[in-house]
Symmetry: C2
């Protein structure tokens, strides 16, 4: 087994991602010790109860003597968090984050003007729709990509810090890729941000269809809709900040999406079956590639109750009973 990459890491924000880093670092020995801070004291308490590390009373206290500090809060809160660290970080420390947007975060972290600190924005492309310290787990990053977006024109020390941070993520099970922040933001707009926006949107549309009751939507959700509700149950604050901070790329991709959707709508209106068939057929190839790349399982998922069994069956029975 490899030794710890860092003697001490500090995690600011003990939610799904922060708590998963704490768990994974402990389980895989990637850090000798972990300190945590959360701006919500009750979240800090829950993290303490879960034994995730030493819980500190302030961000500055948690960051003291840390070799690497991870900002694990919504991206809109990162600028202020970085400013609170002024004077608290030791020389040569790494300041990174886990935000889903990188260009605006890089600007905020640079703006904080922390001296002798290596600012290396990062984004582990992993997560679930759950929130809070209880939702984290040690294997969350396994087989998932972590994207680092190092700043341009830095020296040799900085390159060494990037290499250490990459080793850390690899020890958590991640595969590491580096790219520039703008490219990250465009790629993630298409693979993550716009899909989430669309999921939120269709749930809202369904909710507002006065001719269809919420009960009907819920009952018959197994036919596709429920998968969107899962994406749409992610943390609203996190997502608000993502969209506000990746405005241009999201609007560009949305423009494409809407244009393509109008074309499909027109094909439906005019009965152009071949055009529909062609579009629908292309999707299977990309699905296969995703499964081959280990980013999803091939197991059919609509029928997932059939596999998982008792939990669902229980609630179905209860509902039937309620209905007499």
């Amino acid at each position: 087994m490899t030794g710890p990459v860092f003697q001490r890491i500090a995690i600011l924000g003990a939610g799904l991602i922060g708590s998963s880093i704490a768990r994974a670092a402990a389980e895989r020995g990637a850090a000798a010790s972990t300190t945590l801070y959360d701006c919500d004291p009750s979240v800090g308490e829950r993290a303490r109860a879960l034994g995730l590390g030493r819980i500190c009373a302030s961000a500055a206290e948690a960051a003291q003597d840390a070799d690497a500090v991870f900002l694990c809060m919504p991206v809109g809160a990162m600028g202020r968090a970085a400013q609170e660290l002024a004077g608290a970080l030791k020389p040569g420390a790494i300041l990174s984050d886990v935000g889903s947007v990188k260009a605006s975060v890089a600007r905020e972290l640079e703006r904080a003007g922390l001296h002798e600190v290596h600012v290396i924005p990062g984004h582990p492309v992993a997560g679930t729709e759950k929130s809070g310290p209880e939702a984290g787990f040690a294997s969350l990053f396994e087989g998932r990509w972590c994207i680092l977006t190092p700043l341009a024109n830095q020296g040799e020390d900085y390159a060494g810090a990037v290499a250490r941070l990459a080793s850390f993520w690899e020890q958590l099970g991640s595969r590491v890729e580096t790219m520039d922040a703008e490219r990250h933001d465009l790629v993630l707009a298409i693979t993550s941000h716009v899909p989430h926006l669309i999921a939120y949107n269709i749930v809202a549309t369904a909710y507002d269809m006065e001719s269809v009751t919420e009960g009907e939507v819920v009952k018959f959700s197994a036919s596709g809709f429920r998968d969107f509700t899962r994406l749409a149950s992610s943390d609203p604050t996190m997502w608000r900040d993502i969209f506000l901070n990746n405005r241009e790329a999201v609007i560009e991709v949305l423009g494409r999406f809407s244009e393509d959707l109008i074309a499909l709508q027109r094909a439906i209106r005019w009965g152009q079956g071949e055009a529909l068939f062609e579009t629908f057929s292309r999707a299977r190839g990309i699905r296969r590639a995703i499964i081959e790349a280990g980013q999803d399982t091939a197991a059919p998922n609509f029928g997932r109750d059939a596999d998982k069994g008792s939990a669902d069956r229980g609630s179905a029975d209860r509902e039937s009973a309620d209905r007499g």
Copy 2:
């Protein structure tokens, strides 16, 4: 255990749904015997190899002496299939189907002019993204709704036939609801048809973004996109027919969806964080209702590799190895 509802059922189309009905009816004793026919002889052969029932050489042969006949092909093929049954069905037999669109199917089945046959369109709201006889399984309908859309102004015999068909689906584990065909088509447009169209569309949009490579989309798909590719890997012929046959409801719901999406896009452009937060927050309630109704599990799903383990890990390892 309840006895068989039908002495003999005939299943025309041995794909995912048809083969699942055959399996479920056998396992749960809902039919004493099952005949099958598929217009693709190789599919018929595979169904025979799977032991799904007696495989017949024509639709008419399969339907002979059947108490209930289920059309399990894409909805665009149902009209002709019904016409092929002229003279083959015994008096008092039930002719039903499993299509995701009901008003146009009802018109087609009535148009076939089958005498002394009870036409009862139906739709089991269950499925996976897989196709073919191998993809079916006996528990597919368990805890899922089956919607029947009986014709208006029928007699007492017809009501009895509807009751028998409902019993059959209940014996397969379904819960049964009846509604009129037009309402079905509107409700399913929002819970199923438009979600699938959107999934197909975003996959196509991603594919066409020349500034983002397919490799990048695949790599980082775990952040939301992959869930859409699963929906978008469903059978293209089936979906083409659904959209061509539920044109009006789909276009109505799409109009709402696009209007709502433009409003979200505008909120992003103008930095209206509160409007975004409000829309995102509403989605959680409907998600909770779906889980409580037993139509999905509460288990987080983005991290599904963490649960399923070895299969994925294997392919991830292979990819790493390939990349040297």
